[in-house]
Amino acid sequence: MQSVAAILHADLDAFYASVEQLLDPALRGRPIAVGGGVVLAASYEAKAFGVRSAMPGWQARKLCPELIFVPGHFSEYQRLGDAAIDVLRDYTPEVERISIDEAFADVAGSTRLFGEPAAIARLVRARVRDELGLAISIGVARTKHLAKIASQVAKPDGLVVVDPDTELGFLHGLPVELMWGVGPVTKARLADTGVTTIGQLAQRSPEAVERLLGRASGRKLLDLAWNRDAREIQTHRRAHSVGAQSALGRRPAAEHVYRPALQHLAERIAGRLRAKDRPCRTVTVRVRFADLRSVTRAVTLRAPISATATLTEIAVDLVSGLLRDHPEEKSISLVAISASDLGGATLQLELPFRLRDDGSRPGTRKGMARERADRAVDAIRARFGWEAVAYASSQNAGGARAVPDAFRSLAEKEL
């Protein structure tokens, strides 16, 4: 761990909405939301009314009747997001981008050239403002976790530098939900035991926290509460998994609901596995019920797969098995697939027995035919666009989709 605060976490403020207001001056100063069926992003003006991302459109309109919905300019998000991160790269090569609009940067090696970390952060903020017209908030601290918290505290349009001597005082006064890994469920669980600030969490015994949150996540969270975070900036990441999720609103827990959703997710994920030549051996599905509770189930396969139809079959099997085990849950609000244990391009071929389950095995003739068909689809899409060709079975999912595919691509893009 470093002894000086030289890690920056830079995060563009209300990014999508800010880009829309940048592109259309008439939207400036007004509450706007990107999306339609679902709020993908809201401007600060809209957030003041309580509008939040992932909120259903009708609910957002109820909270804020003047809310303006805009469809979104996804290629502009990509261009401006890239440009903002490039500004950071002007000051250090040690940049780890974690999404379209945020990145970590380690400037410990750049101080002789550009000045103190705080000065570099001020330069970055000024340049992003002048060159791109966007507000970017930056947190500066000794660890990644604390830098990210500091940038959240800095918003909107601010800079917070946490001095190593005062970091625990800073950290312990803040609410727990600012921490990485504390979502609504964990927050509620902690609140039940009287923990609402990071300081209160830090005072709990490791045993108590582990009992409450499980061994691994309990220990991790407690370490973060004491600002023990040894993670370094990773400039080149080899992906360990590929995943995507689909929010459904509140729908019945029935196959006609989740199959098309899973098929759509599988199409995206399998396409990315094929693009990297990294088929997966483990498939994990997650289902979120009507409350915020979610359940996962995983299977590890004998041979790594990357065919869309095979991934769909496996995901549907896992989800139906999972729902069978939770018969009391009548509705679901989200399904997700994650592909991990990524392998290489070698493939054990199967003896040509021609058995009934051949199709789902990548090393059989049928299995290889599936993959060839998928690669042909990939080639057509690369040339004529995603919509040019698709599985007939995934077509009925189209109408119900609240989030545009362009947005998904952006969110899932390898950075």
């Binding site: 004998r302 392998g343 290489g344 391009a345 070698t346 493939l347 054990q348 071929l349 199967e350 003896l351 040509p352 027995f353 021609r354 058995l355 389950d357 095995r361 090393g363």
Partner: protein, 371 residues
């Protein structure tokens, strides 16, 4: 029940019993071994409800009777007793079993023998004798290929059947996991001509093998469509068979492979093992490039390690490059008893045949890897 028995004989039988007993049982009595003393013998029985093992061991019975006690605990006790000890087993008035040897005394809880599940009756119409050595060979050379995939339950055993060949009928054992296949045959024993084709579960194969380990007497095998029984030296193993259809395996054994390679089996396996060291993937792929008189083995890893080794081999056909899972190759080569192995290739994506040049009754088929 009251008896005295020699430790070594009891230990050997208990070894078989504790192996049959499953480690985790929802029905408590299935963790127990049934002891039944009468005449000059102690009968031991263990079951997992699919497989029954009954064994008779000579004992000095002072008072006939029986009980059931935890198989694993009794085995562990007898195992730790000194060599040459005499063990005394006595049922006590409180229902427990007293185990006594020298100055050691143990009391084991028991469960009522009346509750011990009985083996279902059934006729086993086909009966034949097979030399223990022949049965051992059928098992040894096929069991590595048995599938572990529960979804393909019909591949999780050895397919035993009488097969007609050009030279007559033979007794065949076949096992496959979908990637490789082993087919071993032996002369058809008298009385086996009409046997049904049966799939013998992996566990039965293992227990049967343990029973005949190191022995060379005959094993009496009895069969029906749904059951198998092996009788050997006072032990009787009876089991259900796998209820399924073994796929038509002849279909995956190619007949036109004409690229022949002859290698020293041990040297070839050692070279493959060396080269595959650098391969970090689970599959451990190794590539074989063949040209006249020479084989080049190579392997590499995603982390940029690589290895090659050249070998002088008997090869006279067109050049070919083909990939395999190194472990599969090494396992098959390990079953070659003679000095040399003969490979027959077609191309890089089709089944390859491996034979022992000194054993025409053994044949292996291996599917390549796409590398």
């Amino acid at each position: 029940m009251k008896l005295r028995i020699e430790r070594a004989a009891l230990l050997k039988s208990l070894q078989h019993m504790q192996s049959v007993v499953e480690r985790r049982n929802t029905i408590p009595i299935l963790s127990n071994v049934l002891l039944d003393a009468s005449g000059a013998k102690l009968a031991l029985t263990a079951t997992d409800l699919d497989l029954w093992m009954v064994e008779h061991v000579a004992a000095t019975v002072e008072q006939p009777g029986g009980t059931t006690v935890p198989a694993q605990t009794l085995y562990d006790i007898v195992r730790k007793l000194p060599d040459g000890a005499e063990v005394e087993l006595v049922t006590e008035t409180d229902g427990r079993l007293l185990v006594r040897a020298g100055r050691s005394r143990f009391h084991l809880p028991s469960l009522d023998r009346e509750d011990f599940p009985l083996m279902p009756d059934g006729d086993l119409p086909h009966r034949f004798n097979l030399a223990a050595a022949d049965l051992r060979r059928l098992i040894e050379k096929t069991r590595f290929a048995i599938s572990t995939e529960e979804t393909r339950y019909y591949l999780t055993g050895i397919y035993l059947h009488a097969a007609k060949t050009e030279t007559g009928t033979t007794l065949r054992a076949v096992a496959t996991d979908g990637h490789r296949l082993a087919r071993i045959e032996t002369a058809l024993p008298k009385g086996a001509a009409q046997i049904p084709g049966v799939i013998v579960p992996r566990k039965v194969v293992t227990e049967m093998y343990r029973l005949i380990e190191g022995a060379d007497d005959d094993v009496a095998l009895s069969l029906s469509d749904s059951k198998i029984r092996a009788e050997f030296n006072g032990a009787v193993l009876t089991s259900k068979l796998i209820d399924g259809t073994f796929p038509d395996y002849q279909r995956v054994i190619p007949s036109g492979n004409d690229k022949m390679l002859e290698v020293d089996a041990k040297a070839f396996a050692a070279a493959i093992d060396r080269v595959s060291t650098v391969s970090t993937e689970k599959s451990r792929a190794v590539k074989i490039a063949l040209e006249k008189g020479k084989a080049t083995l190579s392997a590499s890893s995603a982390e940029n390690a690589s290895a090659t080794e050249e070998l002088a081999v008997g090869y006279d056909a067109a050049s070919i490059e083909i990939g395999f899972n190194a472990r599969y190759l090494i396992e098959i080569l390990g079953e070659i008893d003679g000095e040399s192995a003969e490979f027959a290739f077609a191309d890089a994506v089709s089944p390859t045949i491996v034979r022992d040049t000194t054993d025409q009754g053994a044949l292996y088929v291996l599917m390549p890897m796409r590398v």
